[in-house]
């Protein structure tokens, strides 16, 4: 097809469950492109030389390469190219912030809309799941043992890369199920859990051992792993961890949740199927979620699905500053979520029996830019008002989890308690590497995966140098 013809093709729309219906169920919102639509979308790629989109991808997927194969309807080749750089494309195709990574630098975005790289990544990965059992061969055993702490995207990616190279990999996971935020945080309606399970199964077939119910720092220390347990290297990927509360009055009231707790109850513990699943959650008729990131968006959309008549997102800055993925914001609005910008809670008010009855808020205005470059919200004196509600979900961030680091004093941390690493991803302890949220603070799935991949290469070199 000639460039002029390609230029004429409009961006394809992602088929979705109708907003009315999906706001009341937990099934996936996006249904995936039809075959013809996917090929048309792939044809929109102009196959730029030195394509900028590739530079925007933290794991450097050859985007024009896989799109060219897809445009040719050669799905096996498209999958091969995609998987060469990204081992979890069915996941990243669904959760990456494409609008700030690959799609943002697509030349087609200059005049019109960028190529829908995320939709196509998902399309190829879902095709591969059905037709292409691409578990790659593991290299012959090297006799080296590597322990991975945490089965989130960073840990799983590192595990896969190391197993391919023939190392014996054991992943230790604190929860009863592997996946990290992919299973306890991101809801089913955005990332179906069977997709995560499928990827984990693939790793198992590659020879990766996954041992759940092991908390490193408690069950074993890093010292035990490198000592008695006989591992030659360790990759720490235990995620960000502890939820932050605002420390305002009323946060102990029944009905106040951290987003982590609210989402874990609903996702990992499947409280949305209560009582078939025995873990409860306080559903709430009027739910206020505090925050503006992906976590807040997931919580507020979950509240709608649990039956909230009113689900309100309260964000202290304005719409432009919201860090959530653009698609989530759009979906949330369609599902009837209400947004209140430039306001923050100052107190949670309760009934005499200790249940939430309202949040008292204060209005904000934007002042000078802060360290993050965004304009700092400043409270407007005397502007307090109440929002009646029965559930409040706090999604204002996390801080580093000290469980592992406090039992490993030799591990150098930065002043926020996150682990310091060198360019190789190695920590202050030789042979111990780290990556993902425990290094970066709360970041993204793809950055965590990128860390896992880089660390795997570095661990491989480290082990080779020592054998």
């Amino acid at each position: 097809m000639k460039p002029a013809e390609r230029l004429k093709l409009p961006r394809q729309h992602m088929p979705e469950q109708p907003a009315e219906a999906r706001a009341r169920n937990f099934r996936e919102v996006n249904l995936g492109l039809e075959d013809r639509a996917a090929i048309n979308e792939a044809l929109r790629c102009l196959q730029c030389r030195g394509a900028k989109c590739v530079g925007g991808c933290p794991v450097g997927v050859d985007i024009p390469g896989f799109l060219a194969a897809l445009a040719d309807n050669n799905l096996a080749e498209a999958a091969r190219v995609l998987y060469a750089a990204n081992v979890l494309p069915a996941i990243t195709g669904r959760v990456c912030p494409q609008e700030t990574q690959c799609e943002v630098s697509c030349v087609r975005g200059n005049k019109g809309e960028p190529v829908a790289v995320g939709y196509l990544e998902r399309y190829v990965a879902d095709w591969a799941a059905r037709h292409w059992d691409q578990v790659c061969e593991a290299a012959p055993p090297t006799g080296r043992k590597v322990a991975i702490v945490g089965a989130g995207p960073a840990g799983l990616t590192c595990a896969g890369e190391l197993a391919r190279r023939g190392h014996a990999v054991t992943v230790f996971e604190a929860l009863h199920k592997p996946g990290g935020v992919l299973v306890y945080g991101i809801p089913e309606f955005r990332l179906p859990k069977d997709i995560v399970e499928r990827e984990v199964d693939k790793l198992r077939r590659l020879g990766v051992r996954i041992e759940c119910n092991v908390v490193i720092g408690q069950t074993y220390t890093i010292g035990d792993l490198m000592g008695e347990e006989g591992f030659h290297a360790v990759f720490i990927a235990n995620g960000a961890g502890l939820p932050v509360f605002q420390n305002i009055p009323g946060e102990s009231l029944k009905g106040v949740y951290s987003a982590n707790e609210y989402l874990t109850r609903v996702n990992l513990m499947e409280a949305y199927r209560f009582p078939e699943s025995p873990t409860p959650v306080i559903a709430g008729r009027r739910v206020v979620v505090v925050g503006g990131g992906n976590t807040a968006m997931d919580a507020v959309r979950t509240a709608r699905r649990l039956g909230a008549e009113e689900a309100l997102l309260l964000y202290r800055r304005s719409r432009q500053e919201m860090p959530a993925r653009a698609e989530e914001v759009k979906h949330a609005e369609e599902e009837g979520v209400r947004f209140t910008f430039l306001a923050a809670p100052v107190e949670v008010l309760g009934t005499p029996e200790g249940w939430v009855r309202a949040v008292r808020c204060i209005r904000m205005e934007l002042g000078e830019p802060d360290a993050s470059g965004r304009r700092r919200p400043v409270p407007v004196a005397g502007s307090e008002y109440e929002i009646p509600c029965d559930v409040v979900v706090v999604a204002i961030g996390t801080r580093s989890n000290p469980l592992l680091t406090q039992t490993t004093p030799e591990l150098k941390l930065n002043r926020w308690g996150y682990i310091e690493v060198d360019e190789q991803g190695m920590t202050s302890i030789p042979g111990v590497f780290a990556g993902g949220d425990i290094v970066r603070g709360a970041a993204t799935v793809i950055l965590a995966m990128g860390d896992g991949k880089r660390a795997a290469a570095a661990i491989d070199r480290y082990l080779a140098a020592r054998s």
Binding site: L175, Q218, T219, K254, G255, N260, E276, G354, N401, P402
Partner: protein, 299 residues
Amino acid sequence: MSAYPIRHARWLAPGVRCLIVEAPRVARRHRPGHFVIVRPVEGSERIPLTVAHADADAGTIMLVVQAVGATTRQLCDLEAGGEVRDVVGPLGRPTELERFGHVVLVGGGVGTAVIHPQAAALKKLGNKVSAVIGGRSRPYVILEEELGRICDAVYPCTDDGSHGFHGFVTARLARLIDEDPDPVRAVITAGPVPMMKAVAEVTRPAGIHTIASLNPIMVDGTGMCGGCRVQVGGKTLFACVDGPEFDAHRIDFDDLAGRLTAYRSQEQAALEHLRQAVGEGSCRLAGAVARATGDALGA
């Protein structure tokens, strides 16, 4: 994924089951004060339970479970030869034990299981150890014999006077503090929230160092969710990583008691659902549970 085999199971009291479970990794690392999170069967809720005893050589841990709701009941239904789906731990910080002099352990109901591992450790450190343990009536006083073998003195108490001291553990503790020739230097307590609160009030005037083992509702047990948060000395702390033991004189017990009632109505529904699933007829525990639910730990 492997489950955790049950070596022995027996009833300690009506509705209170003692399980010896194979969990070698937990057993090896266990220190008094640690707990585990378990899921009895696939799909269960995650609930925290204290490790009442650990045998590193045998690779086993002892759990003492009171059937108060759906999940504890599922656990109590398990038999030797069966298995627990998930056991993770040891979790929490171990108790800070030292040579205090005379230490009194105060246990109420299954709280007695919580203070059990401390007894031996305190004894080993050269303390004089007394245990004041309570129950509604004679059959509900647990581990008396076991504690008797370790402690210098054990004072059973029953609400109805059917065994030992007639009255609450707090009254017996107060008497011990007043009358024992060896001044009481430290108190460690575990049991229903109102009991722990009352213990703290008994020891407060004399400024006796008092530690309470808290039992908030938990989910992950690794500090990730904040569901277990408690107010201690005006600060919000996470019981699973900062505790579960805290200075009893600084704990806001009313806050904890309030939070423990958050799921009352759902708990009833879950129990009802489980009853229907297993069939009321086959459910030998139904009666015990119904009774226990009324005065659960913390209720």
